[in-house]
Symmetry: C4
Subunit: 214 residues, 4 copies
């Protein structure tokens, strides 16, 4: 015990509360998105109501895209923290910066519904996704550079690979930002592509899950 | 320890964070529902206020039905994950799909209040409940097919039984969708029936609770 | 281990997830209350803005009262579950019924602000508090009757005492409901009295905290 | 075991549920802030939309400041509870008082957007921050005075140092309240200064993190 204390200054903090707080923030964000789905309040017939429901299809699509986005980053966050021994002060703040960007998502998602057919909401949504994925990559970079935070059995090579994979999402979202004002469909396809890639192959899965003690 | 790592590739991940995230999402959904309960802002007397409160009885009823629905699925989720050894990537995403459908609930619940007496909101609410219960059954099917996720003492027979029970809710909600436009009361009765059935006999209770280590 | 399984049918389930879900719901309810605090949007001067802030004093008061109410029941819930060995199906549903009543709180709290000076919002708020405290007492009654849920060192006498204490809040809130339409101030005093009593002497504190293993 | 029970009356309660509840409240508050970011609904061109986005820059700034504020107090809360052995009834209620003040934050944050250029919203925001930081300092003072709540290896000197550091934030926010009506920029700079100070040097980090068992 005495020995433990002596070396503790350089030991990472347990990450359970960071995970709980992040889970809370991501759970609230992913659930708040539905508040952006609304029907006008002056409809008079059943037919008009159904027409209005089909009319808000873009809003529903934006909701699904944003939901998939937040879920993807929750899954990544889950695997990333599973690969860590613990956290330190720097990681706490970088995680906070990541959450700042993620909590921004409902704003552009709501704009897509408020201004259907406009390019600006899509650009903003892609921009927020770019920032969120960049800050996530930054968090991973920090952990990779501060090797002591990583679980012992994660090799430098595995960590580097996960780092490269973490750069894919921001690169794709940067393309989506560029495309959004010239080719709406292209931007949406990219936004759907990222969760799909992660769905088929979660980055860092191999770096962490394989070796994680139960 | 070395042995443990060697076999870990086929071992499931601990499910504590999936449970925490799902608890968070379900807690936010179940609480957001109350935001749909509102009174008009132009009432002038105490009597008018009370009349308005009784006037929104359908909204209050929709709120109770949706609350009971989300609570039922939280209880089922609780028992289902208690019957698992852990999760894997597939289950993480299926759980996400289940949450997508559950977070949709406040939208049709709000519509019932916004358009009282209309059939469409009720059809939409039944439809969302159908999707949520289907995705839950899908999650259970996945775990049953990937036997390694189930706790050892859960027999194939118990798992199959829980699977059959999980098909009851979607079947009933499909009836509610069909009924909603021709017989409002019938649809509501079915919506109340599902939580009642689960209340009297929680599916998978026997498959998990009995044998769950404390 | 074999023995453990054999007797498990009568053993309670661990209560960690019920606590987490309840914490989530209570955290969302207590935080949503602030959404009811709003200023009109047509103010033109700094002075008008400050006047409007003082004008919504009743809303702020209702917010503090409702916050104290939810916090009191969170503290009670905390001590109550600390006195349990675990939960069973009945307790899960009773806890859900308690949460149903608690999530209702933001509606009458918002009405107090929407209709200042009216008695009906106060009656409704007292009524919701009455229902919530009754359902909490019901939950405790259930646990007291199903002795196997209680931690071994909690004596029947201590449980009965906690039960009696749990009946105080509903009795007081019933008075508040009765008073609210004839004596506004009296009803508010009672609403403030309950958290104060719990603050000075948390019921079941002695029944649980004393003996709870760390 | 018998011995443990005998001395338990003076032992603190485990703090896991207080942490979970506080995490929930702070997660909801920090996420709700985004709901205050809105665009007018009568814009007709892409250019008008972009102009509107830049026009709400003060709202975005207020959102970032409030986010940083809540995050800072979450980090402090995290380190503070990591330095505790457990909680008692007094700390539960003081923590509730701290949460009351924190949940207030979205109201003045929303006002900054509703009344851009006005001083009153900034004064209110600084005032809420002052109250929250004061109640946090109060919580720490309570724990310092009730030494038995602190982990054994935290020296009286370290606790006193953390106490002094905890007094810096309220002092700065008091200045912000005073400045807000005469020098808007000065008040904002102070509001940004506090998270920055905490970012560079988290108070109580040394008092707790160093010695905290993993």
């Amino acid at each position: 015990m005495a020995k433990r204390r002596a070396i503790f200054r350089t030991e990472p903090l347990p990450s359970s509360r960071v995970e709980a707080f992040s889970d809370g923030v991501l759970a609230v964000v992913i659930t708040l998105l539905v508040l952006e789905i609304k029907l006008p309040s002056d409809l008079r017939t059943e037919a008009a109501l159904w027409k209005a429901v089909f009319h808000i299809a873009p809003v529903l699509a934006a909701w699904v895209v944003s939901f998939a986005f937040v879920l993807t980053f929750w899954v990544s966050h889950h695997y990333f923290f599973a690969s860590l021994k613990g956290t330190d002060r720097g990681l706490l703040w970088l995680n906070g910066f990541f959450l700042l960007n993620i909590t921004m998502v409902p704003f552009p998602t709501g704009l897509v519904g408020q201004y259907p057919g406009f390019a600006a909401p899509l650009t903003l949504l892609s921009g927020v996704m770019l920032l969120a994925s960049l800050s996530f990559a930054l968090m991973r970079l920090y952990a990779t550079l501060h090797g002591r935070l990583l679980r012992d059995h994660i090799t430098a090579r595995a960590a580097r690979l996960a780092m490269i994979q973490s750069a894919i999402a921001p690169a794709l979202y940067a393309c989506a930002v560029g495309l959004s004002s010239v080719n709406t469909l292209g931007a949406i396809v990219i936004q759907l592509l990222v969760p799909l890639i992660f769905f088929l192959r979660t980055p860092s899965h191999h770096a962490s899950a394989e070796n994680r003690p139960p």
